[in-house]
Symmetry: C2
């Protein structure tokens, strides 16, 4: 169903992008799905979209973003705002240690938050860095480059705004299709992940031109 | 993919329900899809959901519906409100002439509105009744039973509220799953309709527990 599956001896395919926010349990499920597919050779790139920014009253109904998460001081605003910003900046720092490093760090942080109920604090972030086997001295040095990390985060937030991302996870296919994909269940099984991903890609490319499939409010999807 | 397909010699399957509003071009596409499948023996029942009521400011954030379309005088409110109410009441009258009559009338009225750009006025409604070959005297008599038609409409609006319908078309499967299904393209081809319907049913029954697939704002689905 998707042509983005890697084949040995073939050139590396263009990645799909997954826009996520560490605050969001559905983004966690989406990133686990992508991680299971990455283990099978499908390419995904982690990108950042801020729900606090997307839902901010100052941005409601505005054509251009007025309130940017990246303009906020580290220790102002709600717990969500502060934790979300700290997590994004830490992930930007982890990314300087390479693709595998940022995946390991992001998964560790998502699991700490949504599987183990930890808050997005400095302690949780440091524990995720240890779990991901980041180089601790380099991680500390990169974290201190606040302006550089914010600039990298801002680029993601800009691109998300250009695409019209409104929730997480939103996947962007190499061929340009992009949609929010919210599902209730968690999988780390590659075959199941492949089936769930193929279903999503099939919907986006179907001749019906599907714009939205969304459950009625009082008939939610079943959680396994 | 669906077990609701009729087989000769088998008992009639339970119908899926399609909640629609004559104001909505996506409801039109959904009703055309259902009509194409009905011709192949799949059972669908037409139901009414009011977008004007669903989006009314008096109902925003309310657990219980405060503003009902069925409480409004025929000649008050916006053009949408008046036309939507008149269309619903006419369809309730057409339904008294049977299942085939209400399908023929509803399709004729949807096409007049969304294919031919006619407003939802008395003239358009009468023309649709002629096109659907309704018994004109009976239609006139039934239309005059305003209280009875409003009571029947109110029952649909109540059930839609219970299900948590928020947009049209929303399909409710015989097994209880219910979701808004918005797609850009129109089909009257039974094989294509079958494929688009199977995709929707597959998404609703998939093990992922899909809650939402919705395009990013600036990456809309392609219209064929």
């Amino acid at each position: 169903m998707t042509d983005a599956h890697a084949t040995p001896g073939q050139p590396t395919p263009q990645p799909s992008h997954v826009f996520m926010d560490f605050l969001c349990p559905y983004a966690w499920r989406g990133v686990e799905l992508a991680a299971a597919l990455r283990a099978e050779g499908e390419a995904f790139t982690l990108r950042h979209f801020s729900l606090v920014q997307g839902n901010h009253a100052d941005n409601a109904g505005q054509a251009q973003t007025a309130w940017w998460l990246t303009d906020q001081p580290a220790h102002e605003g709600s717990e969500y705002q502060q934790g979300g910003l700290a997590a994004f900046l830490a992930a930007q720092a982890a990314a300087r240690q390479g693709e595998e490093a940022v995946w390991a760090f992001s998964l560790a942080l998502f699991r700490a938050r949504h599987e183990h109920g930890q808050p997005l604090t400095t302690d949780t972030i440091q524990a995720a860095a240890v779990q991901a086997a980041l180089d601790p001295e380099r991680f500390a040095a990169d974290l201190s480059d606040d302006a550089g990390l914010r600039a990298a985060l801002r680029a993601d937030l800009h691109e998300a705004a250009d695409i019209g991302v409104f929730g997480t996870p939103t996947f962007v296919l190499p061929t340009g299709e992009a949609a929010y994909y919210r599902f209730e269940n968690l999988t780390r099984d590659p075959a199941q992940a492949r089936a769930w991903w193929n279903l999503y890609v099939t919907v986006l490319r179907d001749g019906a031109g599907v714009a939205t499939i969304k459950r009625a409010r009082n008939r939610p999807a079943r959680r396994a």
